[in-house]
Amino acid sequence: MRLRAIASFVIRDLKLIVRDKSLVFWLIAWPLIWIFMTAYVFVPPAAGEGTVAIKLGVVNLDDSQVPFNGSLIVTIMERVKYNGSNLFNIKPYYSEEEALQALRKGELDAVIVVPDGFGYNVSNIMRETRLKAYIGSRTPQSAQTTSSIITNFFNSFSKELSLKRMESILTIMEQLPIPEEGKQWFNISIRGIMQPLNVTFEKVYPEAFQNRARILGWYTIGAIGMMFLYSGFSSGATLIVSEKERGTLKKLFSTPLTEGEFLIGGFLSQLMMLLISALILMLVGASPVVGACIAFNPFNLTHILALIFIICGALMSMSIGSLISLISKTWSSASNLATVLGILLSFTTGVWFPIEWMPQPVRFLAIIFPPAWSIEASRRILVFETIAETLVLDTTKIFFSTALLLALALLSYRTRIRKYSES
């Protein structure tokens, strides 16, 4: 094995990075576009601080002459604030039909119909109060959000109303000639009836998603994984067929170059390209322009393990590419198939989109797809700051599958070399 021959492949192909614009696009520009899209469109700098405004049509049919009537609840809704902005953008309608037409046209998110007698019913502690709500669905997400907000608002309203009525009953009870023990028992019982379950809610996010920087860290590693999948697949799939179509394969094997030197040289040069690209993505991701939080300390052995996982991810992607080369006859078919498959898998295996976003039947792909394991394990270290001890099983799985896929790549390349040399 001659190191100089192997190194000459690396030197040869590194020149390609600076001279081939399409390669620069796929290796660096395309994943950077995704990182920037994430940083400035999907998770913009003000993410989490934004406002939600529900376009609400209100049909107020109540003309009760009491202090708490339909007009008052409309006024309350108009004043509800969320993150400093009005939660409801209210538009009055004079008939239910008119409001529903606007809802069907997608002009509104929801319609509330306040029926006649609403005020009398609310004011009378012994009466049930009715209200109608229609939820539109301009998009599936908006329907869910609107439904949730309206339900929460009226649940809170209903709860407040219950408490007020309870206070009124208790005030009346105070004035009745009942023994003190009886009053206390009644007080406790009526609270239990009015409020059988008093739940307090508090949102707890995974540590990595507590702030934007960590979300961007998650996606920066995802962009590296995505680039590995389509570029690694493509470089693995075209390693030999590109030499054949260029007319250089036969010249190479007429020199003292051995098959082993050719494969190691070719594989190493492709690996170097992927790693340089990964480094650039990581640096740009962690730069103030994007602001991703990636915890990396070169003196931390766990962080070094994350780098090894990243290298394994690149090697596995290229090895899978070598298997694609077995079913592709030309450079363009190999490259196109590899790119499409790589992008598709990066979207469905938890590399770019969180696996939880995938439909249940698709999730098994992430479970059986080894490059996704290496990306996920790197994330757990660099973003979640997991300790190495918790990754023993993952490490074993990743190292074993890397070795297995490399062995398969070697076999498939040998098959290809023999075939192309003989044609």
Binding site: S8, R246, L252, P256, E422
Partner: protein
């Protein structure tokens, strides 16, 4: 240096049932220029791939420079130039040369000096730092010749090195190859250009349909397989086809080549007036008639009944 650079014995090669080489045997002496002539599909490239160690023969034995070309140490002494220039488009001419030289383990500076001299000789020194994707077909071919020569190998295997080149470029290459011969390099070359073979070859092998059908020096081949003379008849363009058919009724060895009909004959003095008379009786106008010496093309025509460039 052993006396025989290449010894091929009963080499056959077939793929998927197609016989590309059928029991080919020949020997190339050290320091000689051995030219293999044959039309496309004759099996020349397959033979060269086997000799260069790129391909394994299906049967037979191959000995190159005293070793097996499948062995990298034997290939260290061989420089093979395939018909398509084996250049990487994103590298400059000199970077391509550096890359291949490094596969041989040559010193970069020595190779660069040697390459600069060769590029100068071929008149393309100014292209040394140009990306090969920007070169014309002819320039790429010249650059790849430098790739092959810079290795200073004991054996040069050149598959159609001048195809697609203009006469000026071709002459530069032929001159350069002559210089190599004087340096005791053995050259195995495939071509379908007759004048190139006649000009350079010590010995010529003629291949057709996977078989080697004749071998020897140019003179030997002509003596053994060519007619004594060739009547070259140029009829008017509109009568070319008819003239060839009329002459073939009497002489089976009348071949239409480009705008002339070549009539192989042992007695040109007797046959010339007969041919002219026959053509005029058929209303065919003739612009010129001459007697020519036979070429290797005529040898090939006689042996195969077909043209080399068909």
């Amino acid at each position: 240096m052993s006396e025989s650079a290449i010894i091929i014995r009963d080499v056959s090669k077939s793929y998927n049932g197609f016989v590309a080489l059928n029991s080919v045997s020949f020997t190339v002496k050290s320091g000689e220029v051995y030219v293999v002539l044959g039309p496309n599909g004759a099996g020349k490239s397959t033979l060269f791939n086997i000799i260069a160690g790129v391909m394994k023969p299906s049967s037979g034995s191959v000995n190159v420079l005293g070793g097996n070309p499948l062995d990298p140490s034997t290939r260290l002494k061989i420089s093979y130039l395939p018909p398509t220039p084996p250049l990487y488009p994103w590298l400059t001419v000199m970077e391509n040369i550096d890359f291949y030289a490094s596969l041989y383990g040559f010193n970069k500076n020595t190779v660069r000096q040697e390459a600069a001299g060769l590029l100068e000789t071929l008149g393309i020194r100014n292209l040394s730092n140009k990306l090969t994707s920007k070169l014309s077909t002819g320039q790429s071919k010249l650059a790849s010749i430098v790739l092959a020569l810079v290795a200073k190998s004991e054996l040069l295997i050149l598959d159609e090195p001048t195809t697609g080149l203009d006469p000026g470029m071709r002459k530069s290459i032929i001159d350069l190859l002559r210089k190599q011969v004087s340096n005791k390099t053995t050259i195995l070359m495939a071509t379908h250009l007759i004048d190139e073979a006649e000009e350079l070859a010590n010995r010529v092998a003629i291949m057709d349909r996977g078989r080697m059908i004749a071998e020897g020096s140019v003179e030997e081949l002509k003596k053994l397989h060519a007619p004594s003379a060739v009547l070259v008849i140029k009829p008017s363009k509109e009568h070319l086809e008819k003239a060839s058919n009329v002459l073939r009724e009497r002489w089976s060895r009348a071949y239409r080549i480009n705008d002339e009909v070549r009539l192989h004959t042992e007695d040109p003095d007797e046959n010339m007036p007969k041919a002219i008379l026959m053509l005029s009786e058929n209303g065919i106008r003739i612009s010129s008639v001459s007697v020519d010496k036979p070429t290797l093309e005529d040898v090939f025509l006689k042996l195969t009944g077909r043209r080399l460039m068909e």
